[in-house]
Amino acid sequence: MRRGQGHTRALVALSVALATATASAGSPSSHALSVGVDLGYRSVRDDLIVPLASSGPSLGFGARFIGKAGPGLLDTGIRFEFGALFDRYAHPAAGVMHALRLGYLPIAARPTAPSDWSLALGPVLVWETDVLWLRNWDDAHAYWMGRRYLGLAVRSWRALGGAWRLDLSGEINLIGFESRPPAYRLQNEDPLTQVAFYFEGVNRDATFGSLFDWQALRLEADLSRTLGPRGRLAGKSLGLEARFAHTASPAQAFVFELNFRYAYVWDLP
């Protein structure tokens, strides 16, 4: 087995384990776990190093749990993405994103007819980090946007007839902490070979801010189809996600990506 395959399998297993752990922590009347793979296209620019976009395909894995809890939905998930990016000079770059989110969305509107939309909205806690490494422009440091914030999430869904269902969801930051590299990099090297750096180092020296200081926006549409009785495998879904992040401190930086997600959904007891 190649090392990459091992890492991928380990990551998927970790995602499932974490989401399942989250699921078993509550006691909703019904809940579901989805595990999916993302194929996307990402563009990242960080003017701290160079005002050029690095763009390219990305591959991600994620797990998400949605369950009924009291008058609302518990919506939590974990994601990891890796992008192989290139700037206009064809210089390669690597973009990594990892995210954990935990939201509770009280149901605001319930359908009175099959064609009605349901609506839930509420707070979400997000820990999300975008890390960019541009080998040709700076082979000693990473460039990151680390965010830990309280945001607002909204989710709406309706049946489309038959076994099909459409879910629309969105999320935006309100207040929280953002970590960015310093304007001038005095340290000789970031410890790029140490895994802990991607979780701790990219969250150091965080500053408090709000939607007016930096923005993290996510929109998603999921088309899912319920399967017939096949044990706990309840359905499959195809999703389209657009994600945008921006900050202006200490220099402009952007992330924009589109992801197509294919996921399996399991009913959990």
Binding site: R88, Y184, E189
Partner: protein, 361 residues
């Protein structure tokens, strides 16, 4: 069919973000130096006999989005006067210090020279066993014979690749960083072969601290920077033992970097005072050995004590395109600063920069 739709949507989606961002890498922010209270006299190029047309051609290349893409700025000093100064990305680069990368080694040579002038190192043939007797206990006795001269010419023979050095010394922690360096194997007997390594100047930094009881950066502050009116600088120290990192990590403002060149051009004199001896400047900037870097003709560039020797003078050179060219015959100092940690970008080789400014030399 489903696959085709999926692929189509993905392709359209791909084009959208791919076209969103890109700003110009460089901007024309002018070439006329502004008077600052930093000791530099300002003059026009014509007043010192420089061609504005030649400088304009250089500026055009620097502003190109395809050449010298990592460039941040360039300065020209002639006859001791700052006559041309340009920044490509932001004027703020003039007022903030920048990582000189391996041009730091050239400053290390100056600090060492001043220490030698002051009697701390009577002879360059001294073996390091006299300096680090305890750290060498139990190691190959040949290592003890490594001389200061060999450290200054990258011929110690210590096999410590630069990529490994930066990673291991700055990322990992060591109880005794000096011993860690000395424990590395020898790739050749001392003095036999030039091998460009940060380990050699780092041992010079240890020698300076051991002999003087003061870190190299503190020595530089006292003996060098304060003499030249350089007050805003940064020089990183090893996080384990506080010893100055001598092979890179010095940060200077561009105009202050130019002062280093002017001092060497003046053979160690500054404002009527001797900062470093003429004897040392001559030794430091004359060929001691052939480096493993090559000029435009593919010939090895001669190397002095951490200075490169050019047909028209000598140069300090740091990764990414940090250049300090000194042409004594023309009384010329040229500084170029660039993004410091780039790899493989145009303009990051000394011969490329010499070619760019050849009309001035």
């Amino acid at each position: 069919m489903k696959s085709a739709v999926f692929l189509g949507i993905w392709t359209i989606g791909s084009l959208l973000p791919g076209c969103l961002f890109d700003e110009p890498l460089k901007h024309d922010l002018g070439v006329v130096p502004q008077p600052l209270d930093d000791g530099w006299e300002i003059a026009t190029p014509e007043s010192v006999g420089l061609s504005s047309d030649s400088l304009a051609r250089i500026h055009e290349v620097l502003l190109s989005e395809d050449r010298f893409v990592g460039s941040l700025g360039m300065l020209v000093i002639k006859d001791g006067k700052l006559v041309w100064e340009t920044y490509l990305r932001s004027l703020a680069d003039r007022d903030h210090y920048h990582h000189l990368q391996s041009a730091t080694k050239s400053v290390t040579a100056l600090v060492f020279g001043i220490a030698r002038d002051r009697g701390y190192f009577p002879t360059l043939s001294q073996g390091i066993v006299d300096l680090f007797p305890e750290e060498l206990v139990g190691l190959d006795p040949l290592k003890g014979t490594i001389s200061l001269q060999q450290l200054l010419t990258m011929t110690s023979g210590i096999a410590f690749d630069n990529l490994d050095f930066d990673l291991e010394m700055y990322t990992f922690h060591h109880a005794d960083p000096l011993r860690y360096i000395l424990e590395k194997p020898l790739y050749a007997a001392p003095g036999v072969r030039y091998y460009y390594r940060n380990a050699d100047p780092q041992l010079i930094s240890y020698a300076l601290q051991r002999r003087t009881g003061t870190s190299e950066s503190a020595l530089a502050a006292s003996w060098l920077f304060s003499q030249l009116g350089i007050s805003d600088w940064y020089w990183q120290a090893d996080s384990d033992d506080g010893v100055t990192i001598a092979g890179n990590s010095l940060h200077l403002k561009p105009r202050d970097f130019a002062k280093i060149g002017q001092l060497v051009l003046n053979q160690g004199q500054w404002a009527g005072r001797t900062v470093v001896s003429k004897d040392w400047v001559e030794q430091m900037t004359q060929s001691q050995i052939q480096s493993d870097f090559h000029d435009a003709n593919g010939l090895p560039i001669p190397y002095g004590y951490y200075w490169y020797v050019l047909p028209n003078g000598f140069a300090a050179w740091g990764n990414g395109g940090q250049y300090l060219l000194v042409d004594p015959a023309k009384q010329l100092v040229i500084v170029h600063i660039a993004l410091p940690d780039t790899a493989g970008l145009d303009g990051s080789q000394l011969n490329q920069f010499v070619e760019l400014v050849h009309e001035l030399l």
